[in-house]
């Protein structure tokens, strides 16, 4: 009961934040009513998806300070579980999505247990490695379509099919992911004030002190890693139904892993709004860079250069991202 109350309790934010958040929520809820291009709709869905990815990453990477650059492997597990189950056995999304989460969490325990013996950069590099290895396995695994990937053919279904999440219009996908988006915010709002959230923040601060305050550091990290994984896998499952055509090369690439981390790092790692702020900047930027500069001006790869520059800028200027700057200014004003 207390957990539910805490999930809805935003009272520690100043009124201005809540006003802005309410306006943003109102905009998100009414966005499809306004005239919009299909490009804008696709960008908005991407924004919501990457906000959720970022929120998941933020639990372990932001609050816990464990920089994880291997989240794409869990996007893949979620996406492929849903695709395989849908194509082979016609399993509804609402069954395959939790199954995907289950597989992803099991996998996260298997690799999290040894990986969390490592710290800092070593941990980050190891997460990249495991993610790439899993991608390579998927690329030669015929059961999941190997390198060709899987294609969900919408002909079999009668859209709008809410059970299997197969729609013809993007607006349905928009509202489904928006629902997950609000649930995600509630969850992270509970998490950041829960015992586990406090333990993670203490671990980020100083592991020896965390230990001496009775925190099982290794286990707390593994648990939170599983939470982050569940988020990412959920969106991966959604991604499969939304895109309908997934390949390991797209869904599990290093780019995705880095983008996921970047959402939270730019917006503000270890804060509730950070990943959302990050996604609201990076996703339009990404679409613009890919569609216009990349395709039309022939500047392929410029998006990667810009992401690299952002990473350097954030770590040099304010490691806690945009939200870190906001909080710093507020603190100074209060004193």
């Amino acid at each position: 009961m207390e957990a539910l109350k805490n999930a809805f309790d935003f009272s520690d934010f100043p009124r201005i934040d809540l006003t802005i958040a309410a306006l943003a929520a109102l905009f998100l809820l009414t966005f499809p009513v306004f005239p919009h291009s299909s490009f804008a709709m696709a960008t908005m869905i991407q924004f919501l998806m990457f906000s959720l990815y970022g929120m998941g990453w933020n639990t372990i990477g932001g609050y816990g300070g464990q920089v994880d650059l291997g989240k794409a492997q869990y996007v893949g597990i979620g996406a492929f579980t849903t695709s395989v189950m849908l194509i082979r056995w016609n399993v509804p999304f609402w069954v395959s999505m939790p199954m995907g989460m289950f597989f992803a969490v099991i996998w996260s325990f298997i690799i999290g247990y040894p990986l969390f013996r490592l710290k800092g950069h070593y941990f980050a590099i190891a997460t990249i490695a495991t993610s790439l290895v899993l991608k390579d396995i998927f690329e030669v695994w015929n059961f999941v379509g190997a390198a060709r990937g899987l294609e969900i053919s919408p002909i079999k279904f009668k859209p709008p099919d809410f059970l299997h999440l197969i729609f013809r219009e993007d607006i349905y996908y928009y509202y489904v992911i928006l629902g997950f988006f609000f649930l995600g915010i509630m969850y992270v709002n509970w998490f950041r004030r829960s015992r586990l959230g406090f333990q993670l923040r203490s671990i980020k601060d100083n592991e020896d002190i965390a230990r001496s305050l009775g925190i099982n550091v290794h286990w707390a990290k593994i648990k939170t890693y599983a939470i982050a994984t569940a988020f990412v896998s959920l969106v991966g499952s959604f991604h499969a139904c939304y895109i309908k055509n997934i390949e390991p090369e797209d869904t599990m690439s290093l780019d995705i892993s880095i983008l996921i981390a970047l959402m939270a790092m730019l917006g503000g790692a270890g804060s509730l709004w950070g990943p959302i702020i990050g996604a609201s900047i990076l996703i339009p930027l990404k679409s613009y860079l890919k569609e216009w500069l990349g395709a039309q001006a022939g500047l392929v790869g410029i998006d990667l250069i810009i992401y690299g520059a952002i990473i350097m800028l954030v770590s040099a200027v304010e490691p806690r991202g945009i939200w870190g700057i906001v909080e710093k200014v507020r603190r100074r004003k209060r004193r």
Binding site: E2, N6, R193, S194, R195, F198, Q199, R201, S202, K204, D205, N206, D208, I209, A210, R211, S212, L213, G214, I215, N216, V217, G270, R320, E327, R331
Partner: protein, 248 residues
Amino acid sequence: MALLEVHDLHKDFGGLKANEDISFSLEDGELVGLIGPNGAGKTTLFNCIAGLHPVTSGQIIFNGHNITKFNAHEVARLGLARTFQVYVATGDLTVLENVMVGCFMRTRSRSRAKSRAEQILKDFKLHNLSDYLLSELTVAAQKRVTMAAAVGTDPKMLLLDEVAGGLNPNEIEAIMATIRHIHHDLEITVMLIEHVMELVMKVSDRVIVLDSGRKISEGDPNTIARDTNVIKAYLGERYVREHAAELT
């Protein structure tokens, strides 16, 4: 029954013998000082007891449990808390939140952890600092916050590692009051490492002296102050020889 017993404790770091053959015990309710020159192995001893370092050989019994092979968090959960000498405050936890982390060891409920942390801060006279970040406080206040966080875990015994190091006389007064509050009002057994002699000698029931990894003396503060072995460790053999007449 003794609350903490250490039997023949050895701790090697490669070739370096940081702790050699150390044995002592603490009764429930005691306040014991642990002194010795720099490099005597005091902090290593704390780390061994608190489960941060695996011991090379020997046994540590706390409250009837053999904790020799326990991890730090398991030791803490049995009721043996500690503070650290050097605290680098970089995190974004406020004073209140730092103490809440400690309180969360005994409860899952946020509201219970919060109200308990607020109570502890009030007892420690730190409540007007609750919303500050640790990095915004003086070293003295930081040390009292870490003590408050350790008390939040509701320990039977507390190991304090140099809580008065580098503080001015007023701040030492405040720390001394805090230690007395922990020991006297909260009835927590305390063992403290300290270089500030006026503090150790004033508050301790008993003092244990280490030098070069070995226990060289143990007794009440007055006896220790006159012990030639202790004086030798601090001031050198020559001093003892030259001042032999005064010392006896």
